[in-house]
Symmetry: C2
């Protein structure tokens, strides 16, 4: 009997835990769901004989040791900074570890030890990073196997509200709001036309890539942090263009850029007196002095046009409502204001859009192929985000227990032994890329 | 016989050491100059019987302990990050410490211990911070003593080349080049018209204050990091406007802003392949893709006009010269390119411009007073910067040894017992503010 420990019973855990619970009786698994919030864990774990909720707190050594020692495979949905300590316990007790988080430097350094102990520490096995790696590698390997030489690879993914007709941003917080507000604050690095390129935060939301997804709509993409680190991983060292990024609906970036230019997304210092400020006074604190009213000074300072002003107005940035937060950073105030309109309601549905574009030469001719994925949420628990982040982890856990994954050490799912079965399992639940050759 | 240890024999030490050596015979002082570079220390310390050069390296515990143990008063011109360790040794051996650096949090925490041991740890006693504090406090105290109520205080200081007719920037590195290139990267905080205001890096060089200095010329000022922390120190908690900043010649900020917008001053990551890049390729790495040539894309991306382009061209940003630095950050490459034209030659003279503006009410009327200071360098050693940073430290050391300063603990020179004699000593060497009431 195999014991699977899922760490984290938050909003992205529903689809993963549902999948594991559904399989548990026939596979002979026992599932434990661990969280500092035991009620949340109980609610997700249900009341079957093969499942249990447990208290898990990485800062509580006894609880951590007990739960990890009990398990055979640990799947962690906890925030990335916790993973090195979880990985250390997995090493100590000889347990496999699966996460959807980026491989940190601390995690990378455990590779040799995990390898020696015969353990798999699989990371970046969710949506982005995760399904993006797997779907890209499948297509890249296919092009290469036909003799094609890859020249260019662009990949953008976004989590969006499915529909929200009255919301001019056409965006809501379908994922960690703090991460949305502070996104992009380190320089984006990528390769374009054979040259290494860099976009600082202050230009990021102005250098957008237009993306059109057949049957879904038009989007805009901005570059993610460091696309260069995947050149080697993807076997694309000699590619001329490589960029990974985030998708938003059209018009989002132009308006978000105004908040960036003003400094409203800075999380590095506490503002004075945030409890007493109104929303409008918060925005005004970033505007130059002048005789004109706030909206005129905003236009003069940032060039904000009608469409941008409409979005800021709709979000309440000009309102006289009190912020009411004590000692908050600009990013915290911005998140707080946006939450009032951008929080997902239980009736809201989310969606995921992923888009790859490949340029390659085959028999002397240049070809362009695109592939796209649109996933819609079923309800407030089985969201598109929860399904696409959680199911690849669940499938990987099953394959690992079944002995179908041989990789060990610190890994990401770019090898066929990962992407073939996982993409095939995703297809079976209706999640698959649409490929178009042009 | 009193022993004074000067730490740091770099470019700002000449005037301080000259002053101490001149007084040493009559005062019965012994002067030691300590530096990791003993030759530099020897060159500054000269070969008198009352002076010596010593090896000082804060990472070499024995050398540090020996030199600080030997001294009675330590004056440190070393980079600010070294000061907590130097202060710890001064505490251990019961020595006074004088610096021209900002009071760090680490330094602040030594206040009680220094007080208990009867030691003065005087910081911010150079130019800016230093003479700015002292000259401002003298005028503020004068206005208050006449019954005036301070409404507004603005203060800007800059180190500039005295003349440089062919240089369109009218700027050279008269001070630490790295600090010039990375200046302003944390949000500026100040108070304006009764409201707390914030300027992020991406707006800093666009929100300038026009400054006209009688008899000297027109300048532009941009805000420094955190003006709010001086509200209490200056006794200006209820002031409506308080801003401190840096002065440059007209036209500088507009051009510097283009380098900021592109990301050329980022010191947080290493670029790829900097050894092989040309200057023009370096700049191009920050520009969007496009069919137009680089200058056109630069204009399109940043709005750079003729005057800005002229400055970048003059600095060699469009040249095909190799950068030749290995694994450099953008800031390091920018500094390297700028050094080729902005390094001070031995025939160049520098100058310091300081400007204060005070708004106050007196007998129901609103008054504005300005005060300005222009100091010119004598030669490549007795620069304006070296004189204005070093002499206040020298004067403070003399006053301390003479028993004329009673303050103890971690302090900055905002009390009359500091500013009266030090400003008077400065006036005696021709360094004094010109005050204008309007």
């Amino acid at each position: 009997m195999k014991k699977i420990l899922v760490l984290g019973a938050g909003r992205s855990s529903g689809a993963l835990i549902r999948y594991l619970l559904d399989l548990a009786p026939s596979m002979g698994w026992t599932i434990a769901v661990g969280d500092v919030n035991v009620d949340a864990a109980k609610q997700k774990a249900g009341s079957d004989s093969f499942s249990q909720a447990i208290y898990f707190n990485i800062d509580d050594n006894e609880a951590s040791v007990q739960s990890i020692h009990w398990s055979d495979v640990v799947i962690s949905l906890l925030p990335p900074p916790f993973h090195p300590r979880i990985a250390a316990l997995c090493l100590r007790f000889g347990k496999h570890l699966l996460t959807a988080s980026y491989v940190s430097e601390d995690m990378r350094q455990l590779h040799e030890q995990a390898l020696q102990r015969g353990l798999l520490f699989l990371n970046e096995c969710g949506l982005d990073p995760g399904i993006d790696h797997m779907s890209a590698m499948m297509i890249l390997d296919k092009i290469k196997s036909r003799g094609g030489i890859i020249r260019s690879f662009e990949s953008f993914t976004g989590g969006l509200p499915e529909t929200d007709p009255d919301n001019p941003w056409r965006y809501k917080f379908t994922w960690n709001p703090k991460n949305v507000v502070t996104a992009g604050q380190s320089t984006a690095r990528y390769k374009e036309d054979g040259v290494f390129k860099y976009i600082p935060y202050q230009q990021l939301f102005r250098r957008i890539t237009q993306v059109s997804v057949e049957g879904s709509g038009r989007y805009e993409g901005y570059a993610n942090r460091d696309s260069l680190k995947y050149l080697g991983t993807y076997g694309l060292d000699h590619v001329e263009t490589m960029i990974r990024g985030t998708l938003r609906n059209e018009g989002f970036c132009e308006a978000w850029d105004v908040l960036v230019q003003l400094g409203c997304c800075d999380d590095s210092y506490q503002m004075e007196n945030t409890a007493e400020l109104t929303h409008a006074e918060f925005l005004g604190a970033f505007l130059p002095r002048g005789k004109n009213d706030m909206v005129e000074r905003l236009k003069g300072s940032t060039g904000a046009g009608t469409k941008v002003l409409e979005k800021l107005q709709w979000s309440g940035f000009f309102s006289n409502e009190k912020v009411g937060l004590i000692d908050a950073t600009p990013a915290e105030v911005t998140e707080h204001i946006l939450q009032k309109r951008w929080a997902m309601k239980t009736t809201d549905r989310d969606m995921i859009v992923m888009w790859h574009r490949f340029g390659y030469t085959l028999e002397g001719k240049y070809h362009v192929a695109t592939a796209s994925l649109v996933v819609k949420g079923d309800d407030a628990e089985q969201t598109a985000m929860a399904k696409t982040v959680g199911l690849p982890l669940g499938f990987a856990a099953r394959l690992l227990i079944e002995g179908k994954i041989r990789s060990r050490g610190v890994a990401i799912p770019v090898l066929p032994e990962f992407y073939r079965p996982i993409l095939s399992d995703l297809e079976a639940v209706g999640i698959s890329m649409t490929e178009i050759e042009s």
